[in-house]
């Protein structure tokens, strides 16, 4: 008897994940891409090819909103890369110091905001920063810095940065945990070998630990990128769908929501909304591909 060529057990074991993922991720994704090629004329869905994208990028009103949202998205991402990830690495380096007391307490406290809902975080920070009820103006007054207080969430120049920093506060626990795990996995032998060669303290971090955690930093960067370009909840919870003031906090997510579902007297347009969603998908795809092919493939790996 020859054994059957088809390995049924592989198919059976893969099936649940493949089916669920296909049904709730892949099908809607392709359906959105498909929807962006249609428009509605007199209650009828009509195929128009790339017309929606021509409007999105060609019509100055649409393209202005789109580039504004994309620019804001990049600024949002930039603040995260500049603040969240370095602080995450710093915290992880401090936590992994064996002489630090209460490190489990710090670790938990810093990680807790990550599990809070966006709505709670948005609302709490809105209250903290509120010019009327907030504790921010009083706290600044108490240390004699009251003149520094501004209604940061309401000013065009500062609102997006403020929201980005709120998001950093919420999510700094994630890079911290990933880096912390990576730091713990570095074998002591390597560090001891370095010590024998006279590399200790700060230089041990820069010369031994940092190169070894670079792959983790790469993963964190790409997670931050995808998370930031898909962001929506915090802006919506704090500033509403119109992403005020004067669209200063409008990112692709809120722009897509407004267009797709409509807002106040503006009726929803699922087809233009899908076109924006498709553009978001392509942007994220390009970013991820760039990371995979240009960065990750060149990264050196070390075997312990």
């Amino acid at each position: 008897m020859r054994q059957s060529r088809i390995k049924w057990h592989i198919i059976v074991f893969l099936a649940p994940a493949v089916l669920v993922y296909t049904a709730i991720m892949i099908v809607p994704l392709f359906n959105t891409l498909r929807l962006s090629l249609f428009t509605e004329v007199d209650q009828e869905r009509v195929y128009v090819g790339l017309e929606n994208f021509r409007t999105l990028f060609g019509d100055p009103r649409w393209s202005e909103s789109f580039w504004n949202a994309l620019g804001n998205n990049f600024w949002f991402f930039f603040i995260h890369m500049l603040v969240q990830n370095p602080i995450g690495i710093l915290l992880a380096a401090l936590l992994s110091n064996p002489r630090l007391r209460f490190s489990a307490l710090y670790r938990t406290a810093i990680f807790v905001p990550t599990i809070l809902s966006f709505v709670i975080v948005g609302f709490a920070w809105k209250l903290i920063l509120s010019p009327i009820w907030g504790i921010a103006p009083e706290m600044l007054d108490a240390v004699g810095l009251g003149f520094l207080y501004q209604p940061w969430l309401g000013l065009e120049e500062t609102s997006l940065t403020t929201l980005a920093l709120i998001s950093v506060w919420q999510f700094v626990g994630i890079p911290m945990m990933l880096i912390y795990a990576a730091l713990l996995s570095i074998p002591d032998e390597i560090l001891e070998a370095g010590e024998c060669d006279g590399i200790t303290g700060m230089s041990a971090f820069w010369k031994i630990k940092l190169p070894l955690i670079l792959p983790s930093i790469g993963i964190i960067s790409i997670l931050t990128f995808v998370g930031n370009f898909n962001a929506f909840d915090l802006i919506y919870a704090a500033q509403g769908a119109l992403a005020g003031p004067n669209f200063a906090t409008d990112i692709l997510g809120t722009f897509m929501y407004r267009t797709f579902f409509g807002f106040q007297l503006q009726l929803g347009d699922p087809h233009m909304g899908s076109a924006i969603a498709s553009a978001m998908f392509v942007i994220i795809l390009i970013g991820v591909c760039f990371y995979l092919f240009a960065i990750q493939s060149r990264m050196r790996r070390y075997q312990f």
Binding site: Q43, P131, I132, P137, L242, F263, Q264, L265, Q266, L267
Partner: protein
């Protein structure tokens, strides 16, 4: 064997009882954005209806105002929306009717109780079909802290100059924030700012219809005027008003920290419950003494029948009741500040509501300028007006520039303005 039969018999009886009960008791579900009114519907309006119509029970299931249109559209497309749909005025509901989600209600007896103007917000452009039963309008004006006014010896202003004199006096005294409004949520700037004071400048319906006909443009002095007044408001708002939200403003006023609140009449119920000082109201001040006055008396809320409802007969019974004089009386007094649109004579017990409805006799009524037809295209004039009004109050854009931007946006898709 006999046990199986018994079980089957029991099951059959249960099922029979079940169907009999459901044939008698119909439950109607109402979709609404008025989550503030939940208790009033549950405690006053629904019991009054159910007492007269045994066998029909009604459930009021509101969602958040800002999300209502999006939530409702998704529910209707998915077929999970309630039997009765609370209708926004004009295009949002017209689109629902044209998409076949709302039923033509022109043949309901109670529709005869409403004037053409009252029905206009829920009619097809040619007026052939009315698809929502009108419920109420809201009136704009200013609500003020009467105790504070008495303390500072101030009178209700009737002209714009008097209005700013009053604001200056309050600011000079320093105990109160002159006016409670913020620009964080943007819509107050347009709704309680621009469309509140505007009708006095563009002469109500006259200017509104001329704008729709393309005879006036948003850069004309009568349309820039209200923006110029708004530009002066910024100086009288509280510290950090740029980040002040709508609930913040309400609380500032009801806590007695601000003296004047640019209002819509829907605030009355909440303010009565929250404020422990005497309140008064004055109509939007006119630009020059002796000018005829105009108010925004906006057709705001109606209720329609979901075309996919399986309880259409019960729903029609409910809608006929909504159009009755009895409902107008209950609704107007349960929700002072939502003024009935029906021709029925209604007496209001609330003094603040009575004051605001009395302006109908002194001034000319109009509706919000951006609502009919002009917000059909992209960019949406209403949403642009939110942004422009907030920008002007913040001083980030000059009134003339904002007006030019609004006009350019409107002209980009609206033919009569090209």
């Amino acid at each position: 064997m006999s046990r199986t039969k018994l079980t089957a018999g029991l099951l059959a009886t249960t099922m029979l009882v079940g169907t009999a009960a459901s044939a008698q008791d119909v439950t109607l579900t109402i979709e609404s954005w008025r989550n503030d009114d939940l208790t009033l519907w549950q405690d006053v309006i629904i019991p009054a209806f159910e007492a007269e119509h045994p066998g029909i029970s009604v459930q009021f299931t509101p969602s958040a105002p800002a999300e209502y249109n999006a939530v409702l559209n998704s529910k209707l497309d998915a077929g999970s929306a309630g039997d009765l749909i609370t209708c926004r005025p004009f295009d949002a509901s017209l689109a629902l009717y044209e998409a076949g989600h709302l039923t033509d209600l022109s043949d309901l007896d109670a529709m005869a109780n409403f004037s053409d103007v009252a029905q206009s917000a829920w009619q097809t452009d040619d007026g052939s079909a009315t698809f929502c039963m009108p419920m109420a309008s809201v009136i704009h004006g200013f609500i003020y802290n009467a105790d504070a006014f008495a303390e500072l010896g101030l009178e209700e202003p009737t002209t714009v100059d008097e209005f700013f004199a009053v604001l200056d006096a309050i600011e000079e005294d320093g105990n109160y924030i002159p006016m409670a409004m913020g620009t964080a949520d943007q819509w107050e700037a347009a709704t309680m700012g621009y469309n509140n004071i505007g009708p006095n400048y563009w002469r109500g319906e006259e200017g509104r219809l001329a704008l729709i006909a393309g005879e006036q443009s948003l850069t004309d002095p009568e349309w820039v005027g209200p923006l110029e007044q708004l530009a002066r408001w910024g100086d009288y708002l509280g510290r950090g008003y740029e980040a002040q939200t709508y609930p913040d403003s309400q609380n500032l006023f009801t806590l007695g920290r601000a003296a004047i609140y640019p209002a819509g009449s829907w605030e009355i119920t909440g303010f009565n419950a929250q404020a422990d000082f005497a309140m008064g109201a004055f109509a939007p001040p006119v630009p020059n003494a002796g000018d005829e006055c105009y108010i925004s008396d906006h057709t705001d809320i109606a209720i329609g029948l979901n075309a996919a409802s399986s309880n259409a007969d019960a729903a029609r019974t409910f809608l006929n009741w909504v159009g009755s004089a009895e409902f107008a009386e209950i609704y107007a007094n349960a929700l002072p500040g939502f003024f009935p649109l029906s021709n029925a004579e209604v007496t209001l017990e609330d003094p603040l509501a009575q004051e605001m409805i009395s302006w109908r006799a002194e001034c000319n009524s109009s509706i919000r300028s951006t609502y009919q037809i002009l917000s059909r295209g992209t960019p949406n004039l209403e949403n642009e007006t939110w942004n422009a009004s907030a920008q002007v109050i913040r001083g980030a854009e000059a009134p003339a520039d904002a007006a030019a931007r609004l006009q350019e946006g409107l002209a980009s898709w609206y033919e009569p303005q090209q």
